[in-house]
Amino acid sequence: MENEYILKIQNLKKYFETPYGTVRAVDDISLKVRKGTTMGLVGESGSGKSTTGHVVVGLFPPTSGKIFFKNKDISVPLEKRPKELKRDIQMVFQDPASSLNPKKIIRDIVGLPLKVHKMVQTKEELEEKVAKLLEMVELPPEDFMYRRPVDIGGGEKQAVSIARAIATNPSFVIFDEPTSALDVSIQAKIINSILNIQREFKLTSLFITHDLSLMRNISSEVTIMYLGKVCEIAPTDVFFQKPLHPYTQMLLSSVPVLTKEEEELKPKGIKSIGEIGSPIHPPSGCRFHPRCPYAKEICKKKEPRLIEVEPGHFVACHLYAEK
Amino acid sequence: MFKYILVIDIKSKIVRCVFKMRAIWKYVGKRVLYVIPTLIGLSILIFILSRVLPGDPALMAAGPNAPKWVVEQIRHQLRLDKPLWQQYYYWLVDLFHGDLGYSIYTKRSVTVDVVEYLPASLQLIFLAALFEIGGALALGIISGRYAYKLPDNMVRVLAYIGISVPSFVWGLLFQLIFAAIIPLFPSHGMYSYGTIPPPRVTGFSLIDSLIAGQFDTFVDILWHMVLPAFALSLGAMAQDARIIRAGMVDTMQKDHVSLVRAYGIPERTIFSKYILKPSLVPAVTVMGMDIASLLGNAFMVEMIFQWPGFSRYGINVMLNKDINGIVAVVLVVGIIFAIANIIVDVVVAYLDPRIGRRSA
């Protein structure tokens, strides 16, 4: 049973020291990703969702806690990780404008992982492989191979990023809001190629986003984060039928929708209020309590633990602890 | 009742003001703490250079025909016979007693030299800085106001010339044109013939002449300062005018300017308030660099105009290889530069509330 989890995060903390105080970007979270599935990591700014991705991929070492990948402890700085690991875990970043080196041509950008991992020997081999990768993300190679990032659009840039991420044939890819900077028509295109690639490569992935509707279409399981903490974890279908955590409900009720069917999914009777707290001085107890309509005394004092309400559905809220 | 409210209001204003001041002082303190190790590093650097580089200062000081024992005596006097770290240690100990060592050029303590010559240089550089700021503001604002139009193009070409012509060339040109061909200004020195220098109180001859009530002398000194100060300021002025212009052109494109325009604030107010202030921040930031050029170029300009200042003293100790003098000159210039930069930082922090303090 344990083997089917490809990624396990245990009590992960990541603090950043800044001149204004310690930012508790990720504060004691645990989650597991099953092989071949997509875990959606949803949260607003300051929730620590991107930081979680960066720590998993090794850009920052964790402050404390462990990360296991294929049952190996990988919570070490990037330099100390074995090279095969870097081949196996890849990431697609948020901002297409800064994801590609503006001074390089697409061939060299996509070819870099191939060269680093010595997967190609000659220039011809490189061009051949890069062409295949570009075709996979629906970019005609002869048009794009020799262009520079400045000459292509945002969606195309993100497609190139995806091609680069899958160049080494990884088993695990983190997508960090890959479409948040794109228009909907282009987003649809990119999401479709991500779905295709996931199917074709049997990828396991962590899909970070703030867009619940998008997440619905992509992931099999959802983790909701707020101010560095996990609020709720659930299989996607269960999650939309029965969102438990008040924050989750607030988030869901805030999504503007296009159809009647969708409107029915939105929880009624909860309205978004208050400001997202500061990760430097997070609220005491449950971090959501200042905005929570159901907050009680205990919420201000005691931090709720993540409990399993039904199989596979976890929530960290005092409302459910009593039962 | 009304009075009472007023008192409270003033009180809270004072409290807020003090709080703001405190934040600024804290910021200054931080900057000073950062600068001190740099200055210590600078003293070590120049000290080592002065002792290690080839060429025997003792021999230089004694002269080529001096007997050997004289050279040895000077060497002992300068502590050149001791190991390097001891030399630095003693130099540092002396420094804390306000003693910068013995000058083989002026044959007296370097500290006395610094006290004597520094004020004249500072007052010249101060006037040059005033010229620079005034000229840069005027030219930069004209240029920014009429961006891409004729006045702007003229200012831009002028600015290129201002930047490219070295200060010593300006000095010579001014001497040639405004002193020799059209004798409007004196060509050199601090006083005209027959003018009696004021008794020394602060060392700043302008202030001293006012203290002594010699208003004619004051005007005479000022008259002597115009050409050198102007020659000194032109390069920095041109540089700053360009930066002010660039800042304005940049700011004009900003959304916040569109916003105030959309709310019907008249163009004049937009320009003089909402565009000008943000444009000055980069210009003031660069002023630190301009001070470097003023301090450096003062060496040549004081030489040309025979201004009895610290920089000309610096050239003399350098030409005479007076090691204590050289070390002192570099260190003093370093300290002035550091102070000037801290002042610049404070002005920037004053203009831009985001710098130096941040609270939610």
């Binding site: 890849q90 991420a165 080494t168 | 590093g41 060429g55 040639l176 020799a180 290889k321 570099v330 530069f337």
Partner: protein
């Protein structure tokens, strides 16, 4: 993939074309290019272009001393009867040589140190490099250069060494600033994640993005190094007579102001001419890379 290679060439030329287009958009940049090219040509071919090449060094002809500008001597002659024009043309040679020597020494060192300092900004090595460069910048470059020159024996070579010693921190700072901002770009993250080496990231990913700024600074610095060299020799701490150095010529000629103004004024204008040229050119290059 022959078609691809053709396309590749096409994109490359397009890149250069775009830069050239951005460059020539401003007439000032073109003037700068012409001025700086003219000084380089004069410097290289000085012995053939100068009307009296033998006047460059130690030469006296007191019969023709202090002659005002004429067709024979366009810039007049100096106190030793030497042709000022010829000496000025040779002066370009010394000035540009100084700039070339200083910049070849300084740029690689400063750039590499800056890359390292920026890339390892949080570590002690980065902090140390920046602290040391702060020390060199704590005093206006001219003042430190003057004192180093005075501690050495004044000569053209020593002046170059002194200026080089002062100049590297500017490149270190430039690269430090660029590197520490680019290092947070996602493409650098991506290279790290995939396992590229630090050297690869510094030189292949970050440095190409600093190229424009470095080239601009080099061009502008040709002017500033020449200015610094001229200042040193003007004070008497740089090249020594009879070297036809522009700064030396100005300071020697200054003694004869205002009567024999041409002896100092023409070399003085020549210095301004070079600096102007490289300033305009530098701004043009900046436009080309940024535009």
């Amino acid at each position: 993939m022959s078609r691809a290679t053709i396309l590749s060439e096409w994109w490359k030329t397009l890149e250069i074309k775009k830069k050239w287009y951005n460059f020539r958009r401003s007439p000032l940049s073109l003037i700068g290019l012409i001025i700086s090219l003219s000084t380089v040509i004069l410097a290289i071919f000085a012995p053939w272009i100068a009307p009296y090449p033998e006047h460059a060094g130690f030469y006296t002809d007191f019969e023709h001393a202090n002659l005002p500008p004429s067709w024979q001597h366009l810039f007049g002659t100096d106190e030793f009867g030497r042709d000022v024009l010829s000496r000025t043309i040779f002066g370009f040679r010394y000035s540009l040589m100084m700039a070339a020597v200083v910049l070849t020494l300084v740029v690689p060192a400063g750039v590499i140190l800056g890359l390292i300092a920026g890339y390892y900004r949080e570590r002690w090595i980065g902090k140390l490099i920046m602290r040391i460069s702060d020390i060199f910048i704590a005093v206006p470059p001219l003042v430190l250069a003057l004192s180093v020159c005075s501690l050495l024996t004044p000569s053209a070579f020593n002046a170059m060494m002194a200026v080089s010693l002062m100049w590297w921190p500017w490149y270190t700072r430039l690269l430090y600033n660029i590197t520490s901002s680019i290092k947070e770009e996602y493409f650098v993250y991506a290279a790290k994640v995939t396992g590229a080496s630090s050297a690869h990231i510094m030189f292949k990913e970050i440095f190409p993005n600093a190229m424009g700024a470095v080239l601009t600074k080099i061009t502008l610095d040709v002017g500033w190094v020449i200015l610094l060299g001229a200042s040193l020799s003007f004070v008497g701490l740089g090249a020594q007579p009879p070297t036809p150095d522009l700064g030396t010529m100005v300071s020697d000629g200054a003694k004869f102001l205002p009567d024999y103004w041409w002896i100092s004024m023409f070399p003085a204008l020549a210095i301004s001419y070079i600096i102007l040229g490289f300033n305009l050119l530098g701004d043009g290059i900046k436009d080309a890379f940024e535009g």
